[in-house]
Symmetry: D2
Amino acid sequence: MKTPFYYRRPIRWGDTDAAGIVFTAHYFDICMETIEGWFLDVLELDWFAMTHDHGIGSPFVHAEVDFHAPLTPRDTLLVRVDVERQGNSSLSLALTGTREVDGQCTFTGRFTCCFNDLASFIKIPIPDELRHRIDDYQRRCAE
Amino acid sequence: MKTPFYYRRPIRWGDTDAAGIVFTAHYFDICMETIEGWFLDVLELDWFAMTHDHGIGSPFVHAEVDFHAPLTPRDTLLVRVDVERQGNSSLSLALTGTREVDGQCTFTGRFTCCFNDLASFIKIPIPDELRHRIDDYQRRCAE
Amino acid sequence: MKTPFYYRRPIRWGDTDAAGIVFTAHYFDICMETIEGWFLDVLELDWFAMTHDHGIGSPFVHAEVDFHAPLTPRDTLLVRVDVERQGNSSLSLALTGTREVDGQCTFTGRFTCCFNDLASFIKIPIPDELRHRIDDYQRRCAE
Amino acid sequence: MKTPFYYRRPIRWGDTDAAGIVFTAHYFDICMETIEGWFLDVLELDWFAMTHDHGIGSPFVHAEVDFHAPLTPRDTLLVRVDVERQGNSSLSLALTGTREVDGQCTFTGRFTCCFNDLASFIKIPIPDELRHRIDDYQRRCAE
């Protein structure tokens, strides 16, 4: 597994709006694709399996993006994921989106999800196996 | 014009994900619909006309949402818009999403856009006419 | 209940792409909003309740749109729904999208869904109560 | 260049709806991603550059999909593109979406676009260079 995790994402026509740049709301689709990929590769956790097979959810309680430079379909993004904080039930991730061609930072984001029991919507502690993988990723990113 | 401005938005099937609730990224579509409606009703400003006819843009530099309770297609949202801060070029709006049926707050959001010249992407001061309408709205909300 | 059913839909900034017109794929979001509204108003059937409370689905087996004229956020759409054909399990709807301001037809569409048992994904006959409402709507549209 | 062209697309959480399968309208996003990729790889044509640098558009005049089997985030799609017909101004493509794991056909689609001058929205003939590349692709697919 490569560390840190990067999601490579060409900007597409469908991401744009009438100003010719990526539409504000679409950044959050791109961020969710990034985070889903990180869960799959780094935590070996598939949201769909977690939900359907294990009755566990990880709904987001906070999502934010700061936009530093516009993006167009001429760009390919590289989105890096860092662990910002691991709580008892919650996990905060920091995302950094740079243009592949010149490394310019185009956006930064912070996303926090909270593990819960899907049936009751009551918080549960992050399972130990995941906790170890998150710690491990954080350690390797810091090296 | 009604003050404060509320955007009424039934939750739809297409807003949901496999957990049976509104997908994280879709909240930002709903918030952008809300803000576009506020610009149109309160500022009498149409984003498409501003962009195409006047060469002025208002790209967002910050967008964030805190999620307090899940939403399903059984819900209808009421999203209230308040002016948080008006800078020289920037405008920060506070959004509050409540369930119509019982008034429960389901999310809060903060969105900041920055007026610019579309050709150069250089910041411009908020035009005086808009500034007055924003002030006026803020005053009437505070009453 | 008004017959025929019309869904009124202002075109929004988020519907557009870098050509300044509504993006091809977004027409299908608009059509699904229309059909969901028709099910709710005319058939008194809520997709979410049908799925979650009754274990019945109505997945689409066919969707098509012919595009006659571009749309921008200067336009408001009126989308009319007609029943094209009611089979044993399937229902075909014809959609006609016109510009509110001048009645120009901007697109036409055909969508076919098929009722099934969600657990087995096996087709089921359209329930009698729905069948009567569909017949009734078709009759009133023809008058 | 590989012939035929295949777009490989993992199904993601954000593609799903509350029935736990890919939402009808999202298939059209996936198809547009596929076609954009085919234009780029096979025709060496970038929609954004074509629009912004050359004032030429290729709006879609028809889009349809037949859905044969549901998709979930457990699936990865392979979408094949074939040329169905090349007219004077129009180009019809046939899409076939199969599950990577077992080759099961999950959907088929037909999409027709029409080249035009963006300023006047008047049809233009397909430029010769593109015409040759389209012919060439069709020939190699038939071998």
